[in-house]
């Protein structure tokens, strides 16, 4: 099976990640942050070293304000529920995943209004202006994706962040498709909350997510044992334990650290260049294939992550993905949990087939994939 579904989760995982997970289970099988014995301290140390590696990679000044979560959706929910948002306006983009849209929908019950800013694929300045028009005195938060999980377009978060800072509005970023894929510099971009998955562009195991808290969250999603201030029933104030009640996913976190090291060693920009070459070859090939529809302009390296969507005339997106599966290619069809993005592209009723390569794909796989799509399109016409 040739895997082109890296926007869902990266696969395969690097050898180093698999070895780190197995090693953690063999050598560090103790509860971090709970006991005083050597094994528990060693486990705590391993967890902290992952925070430190993430702080270094994302140029985030305080490792202790890096919270481990289950996934990016969990990070986003921790922010949206932790801010105690009531009777205010929240601005988001027209390309959001349901990880953002569903918690926002729930916040309407608290009297919140949701305003959706249009994203312009080839005009980031116009995108910033659409956010600027919607921010008013009642706006408390802007939350948006860094890169679309459907079409790969990158939002200008640096400018949107500055805009939020100027207007005194909190800014949260869903970096599900960009963390480890394109550089994110928290020291340069004014982001209050950065939500990332561990298992996509960082090549860590599933069940790992991270939340970078530059600003404070007044409320918690979960309360319970943290290993500190145990005599009190009140949830401790200290980050990150305040948001990490219960035993953390030690093997996952150790695997994530190995994933971060893997990406750092290869270089984020080098990986992105390579993956974009694969994607651009795919785009050009699909563009020349009769019966194939693409939904974005040519994906240049500056403004896209390696994700694209297409459809084959005469076939539902699920049929195309099934035929590709039979031919040995793993791609995802449908709405990709992002109906707003599909509405924006005009594919809400039938979805699209998403192709997302990784560092482990080879140009030869792209050429054979294009031949398969060509055969499918020809037989469907």
């Amino acid at each position: 099976m040739i895997y082109f579904d890296n926007a869902a989760t990266s696969s395969p995982k690097p050898k180093e990640v698999k070895e780190a997970v197995a090693g953690a289970l063999q050598r560090l099988s103790a509860n971090p942050g709970r006991s005083g014995h050597e094994l528990s301290i060693a486990a705590s140390d391993a967890v902290y070293q992952c925070r430190a590696a993430l702080a270094d990679m994302f140029r985030f000044p305080a490792p202790e304000r890096i919270v481990f979560t289950l996934n990016c959706t969990h990070s986003i929910n921790t922010v949206l529920k932790g801010l105690r948002l009531k009777n205010c306006k929240i601005v988001t983009s027209s390309l959001e995943h349901n990880a953002v849209m569903r918690p926002l929908e729930k916040l309407k019950k608290n009297g919140c209004t949701i305003a959706v800013a249009e994203v312009f694929f080839d005009d980031p300045e116009a995108t910033v202006r659409s956010f600027a028009r919607l921010i008013d005195d009642n706006t408390r938060l802007v939350i948006c994706t860094h890169a679309s999980n459907v079409c790969g377009v990158v939002l200008p978060i640096e400018q949107i962040g500055r805009l939020c800072k100027d207007r005194g509005v909190l800014f949260a970023v869903d970096a599900a498709q960009s963390a480890g894929v394109i550089p994110i510099d928290c020291s340069a971009v004014p982001i209050d909350f950065l939500c990332i998955p561990g298992h996509k562009g960082l090549y860590g195991p599933m069940g790992t997510g991270v939340l970078f808290c530059k600003s404070d969250l007044p409320d918690t999603l979960t309360e319970g044992g943290t290993g500190n201030f145990s005599a009190s029933f009140v949830q401790p104030e200290d980050y990150p334990e305040r948001f990490e009640s219960g035993t953390v996913n030690l093997p996952g976190i150790v695997g994530l650290k190995a994933g971060v090291d893997f990406v750092q060693k290869k270089g984020v920009e080098r990986i992105h260049q390579y993956e974009m070459q694969l994607l651009q070859t795919t785009y050009r090939g699909l563009k020349q294939t009769r019966g194939v529809t693409l939904y974005t302009p040519y994906p240049d390296t500056e403004r896209y992550v390696p994700v694209l969507c297409f459809n084959v005339a005469g076939l539902h997106s699920s049929q195309t993905a099934e035929l590709l599966n039979k031919a040995g290619y793993a791609l995802r069809a449908g709405l990709h949990c992002a109906p707003t993005a599909h509405r924006r592209m005009g594919t809400l009723s039938y979805g699209a087939v998403r192709m997302s390569p990784s560092i482990f794909n080879h140009p030869k796989e792209i050429y054979s994939f294009l031949q398969s799509v060509k055969r499918i399109a020809k037989s469907a016409s």
Partner: protein, 75 residues
């Protein structure tokens, strides 16, 4: 040799503090705090072999929450 340990509020601060002190030449390691549990619950301490006053000041200067100091024999 100084027998005092620096009490911090969490294992994360303990490791951050230990690494910071080690990077500055201290011999430092972490222990689970003993002593009066009803005040701070189960916390962590950083043991430094030398110049605990300076070590504590370094931790405070780097925004590591210090809860106090406790002698080794006090538990």
């Amino acid at each position: 040799m100084n027998q005092e340990r620096i009490l911090v509020s969490s294992v994360t601060y303990a490791i951050k503090g230990r690494d910071l002190l080690r990077s500055m030449g201290f011999k430092a390691y972490i222990e689970r705090s003993k002593g009066q549990l009803e005040h701070s619950g189960c916390g962590y301490s950083i043991y430094v072999s030398d110049d605990v006053e300076r070590a504590e000041q370094i931790l405070r200067d780097h925004h590591i929450k210090v809860l106090g100091r406790r002698g080794r024999d006090e538990g």
